[in-house]
């Protein structure tokens, strides 16, 4: 019991954590495969990161240092809310510094700073099924994964290229994990996809509403789907960050007036502050 809350450490009871850990172990053993789990109703709404929160709760220990980001930033309202939830129910130390964190829960971004082997990144996933927009039935997509029948997705990419000259998917860009399973990387910008490939940190994905957990073990191949003659290309706004001058980070576009004025700043606030502090 813990911190005046009356709840178990990190909110979930130990039985539930054990169930989630089993799902995580299975997920790590079969990289990119979606493992159904008995997702619980959390005190935050579905869509707010209930899957990520359950995964974090299951892996968090007393000595962990937690960082929570949403859209790359530590101070977006939902990141604040989730960080407070764990500060309150687990009493763990929290940080905004990527390098100091042992567990990083994220929505929609991967930090710019390369992650290490002793870190875990937990992604919040709204829709774990990469084929969902092409085939709404989960009974059917499950069969497609079993047979590694991903022709439908290749056709979709091909049609995009013939129609637009490029693949039109700009976030949640599908990836092949370890050459076997097609996986939704969660709605991170395609810019972040290359960071997943052979990442040193363990990558865990939690989808609460859809009740699925999946994982990419450290140093596993993660390839963004493409064609030999149409290679995957990560793109970002062609500007430099107005605050730190970075030209290689992912940028937020901020509207500054109603005359079409825009400024571009790093979406990863910790990265940006670090560069400005010269650390």
């Amino acid at each position: 019991m813990n911190v005046a809350s009356g709840y178990n450490f990190a909110y979930l009871d130990e039985q539930t954590k054990r169930m989630i850990r089993r799902a995580i172990l299975k997920a790590v053993a079969i990289p990119g495969h979606q493992v159904p789990f008995g997702s619980r109703e959390m005190p935050l709404p579905y869509g707010w990161g209930t899957g990520g929160i359950q995964v974090t709760a299951a892996v968090l220990g007393r000595d962990d240092v937690l960082k929570v980001i949403d859209q790359g930033a530590d101070d977006t309202t939902n990141a604040v809310s989730i960080r407070r939830f764990f500060a309150r129910t687990a009493g763990v130390a929290t940080t905004t510094h990527t390098a100091e964190a042992t567990v990083i829960q994220t929505r929609h971004r991967i930090p710019e700073t390369a992650l290490r082997q002793d870190q875990i990144i937990v992604y919040q996933v709204p829709q774990p099924e990469p084929l969902s927009r092409l085939e709404p039935s989960r009974e059917e997509t499950r069969r497609m994964h079993a047979l590694a029948d991903y022709g439908l997705m290749h056709v979709k990419l091909y049609e995009d290229i013939t129609r637009f000259g490029h693949v039109s998917i700009s976030y949640d860009y599908p990836v092949m994990v370890d050459g076997r399973y097609l996986m939704a990387p969660s709605p991170i910008p395609a810019f972040d996809n290359p960071k997943m490939d052979r990442m040193a940190a363990l990558q865990l994905f939690g989808a609460g509403r859809e009740k699925r957990i999946y994982a990419v073990p450290p140093y596993t191949s993660v390839r963004s789907l493409d064609f030999d003659d149409h290679e995957f290309r990560a793109s970002r706004a062609p500007h430099a960050c107005l605050l730190c001058g970075a030209t290689d980070s992912y940028l937020d576009e901020v509207v500054i007036d109603d005359q079409g004025g825009r400024m571009f700043v790093c979406s990863d606030t910790d990265h940006c502050e670090g560069r400005r502090d010269g650390t």
Partner: protein, 364 residues
């Protein structure tokens, strides 16, 4: 600088919560509503929140309604989030709804039948005229006439029809513990136990619309209300260490037995089929809708074409839960600027390509 305006999430959240608490209380010159008043006087709201919150506790439902400012889906969510922290001790023995202490029991298929027709506290035959007398407080309603309580068992209409073999029989208990959606994720094909649990927790409005759609030809089932009963039923569990059933209390339930179009084959003589609804509290609209949708989802099992939305088990089960639905719909208001930014860049790039192509064409 403008960028500063999007920072400061921490203080914004605290301020929002403070404002919410003030808004919830409303005008302090007006007396605060008591949880006991909600429980006693907003019974149908309590019933709905208990059903969709999957927790039979009138007091907690009343608290949730107060906390949610009367937003019943939000209240059901509060109950669900509380419920999930409770240990699960046992699965009950099958409820004996024939032994229900009925306060209402009607059949639309027989004019009279054992146990009789009992209207009970229904709005069915009220004229929907605003009762301005209710706006004036302190006027006690006239005392309703009393009758003696009997504890006779009232046979279900199905049992009556089953005598002649005219309707599908109860499958009887398999002895297996029923599936529990709150512990195991939904998987397909989904058994009837899972389907009924999902419907019992499902959104009343969604099921109402789906049930209605079957009546308008989208998967018609030719339904009759065999019977509808509302009342209290005892719940029994059989603790393994005792080996016999003990009564752990009563729950309020609404049960609907729908009698549907007959089916038959060379091996099975024609008989009516069934749809079933069972909901916490007094919830006739929900129980009837549930029975319609339950029957519609049996289409494939009964050899009918499954083409309408209500007959698509995966469609119904994945979308009937309003806590899941409201979460995912409302999450769209969370920040999505990273994704939107990537879409912006993609659209700008495509537009630039299109412009370049147009210039090339013009030059040729």
């Amino acid at each position: 600088m403008a960028y500063v305006a999007v920072k400061g999430g921490e203080r914004a959240i605290d301020n929002a919560h403070a404002w919410l608490a003030e808004a919830r209380r409303g005008d302090p010159a007006v007396a605060e509503i008591g949880v006991d008043q909600i429980e006693a006087q907003l019974g149908r709201a309590i019933d709905r929140v208990m059903a969709e919150g999957s927790l039979h506790d009138r007091g907690l439902a009343a608290l949730a309604i107060k906390q949610a400012q009367g937003d019943l889906i939000e209240a059901a969510f509060l109950l669900r989030a509380y419920r999930t922290t409770l240990p699960r001790f046992a699965a009950s023995a099958p409820l004996d709804t024939e032994a229900m202490q009925v306060r209402r029991r009607i059949s639309a298929v027989f004019k009279d039948l054992p146990g009789g027709q009992v209207l009970g506290p229904t709005t069915d035959y009220t004229h929907r005229l605003l009762d301005f007398a209710l706006a004036a407080e302190g006027i006690a309603p006239p005392r309703a006439p009393r009758a003696d309580v009997t504890d006779e068992t009232i046979p279900s209409v199905n049992a009556i029809l089953a005598h002649e073999g005219l309707i599908e029989r109860d499958a009887g208990s398999s002895g297996e513990e029923p599936a529990d959606l709150t512990r195991e994720p939904l998987a397909f094909p989904a058994g009837r136990d899972v389907r009924l649990q999902a419907l019992a927790r499902g959104d009343e409005g969604f099921l109402l619309a789906l049930g209605y759609s079957t009546q308008r030809g989208w998967g018609g089932t030719h339904p009759f209300v065999g019977e509808l009963r509302v009342g209290e039923v005892g719940v029994e569990i059989v603790p393994p260490e005792l080996g016999f059933a003990i009564d752990i209390g009563d729950v309020s339930l609404t049960e609907c037995q729908m009698v549907n179009q007959f089916a038959g084959s060379r091996s099975v003589k024609p008989q009516f089929t069934r749809g079933y609804g069972l909901v916490f509290g007094h919830a006739e609209r929900k129980a009837m809708s549930m029975a319609l949708v339950d029957r519609a989802m049996r289409a494939a099992e009964l050899g009918e074409d499954a083409t309408a939305p209500a007959q698509n088990i995966e469609f119904v089960l994945y979308h009937c839960d309003n806590i899941e639905a409201t979460g995912f719909v409302e999450h769209l208001k969370l920040p999505h600027y990273v994704d939107f930014q990537s879409e912006l860049e993609t659209v700008r790039r495509m537009r630039a390509d299109a412009d370049a192509a147009a210039i090339r064409e013009a030059a040729e």
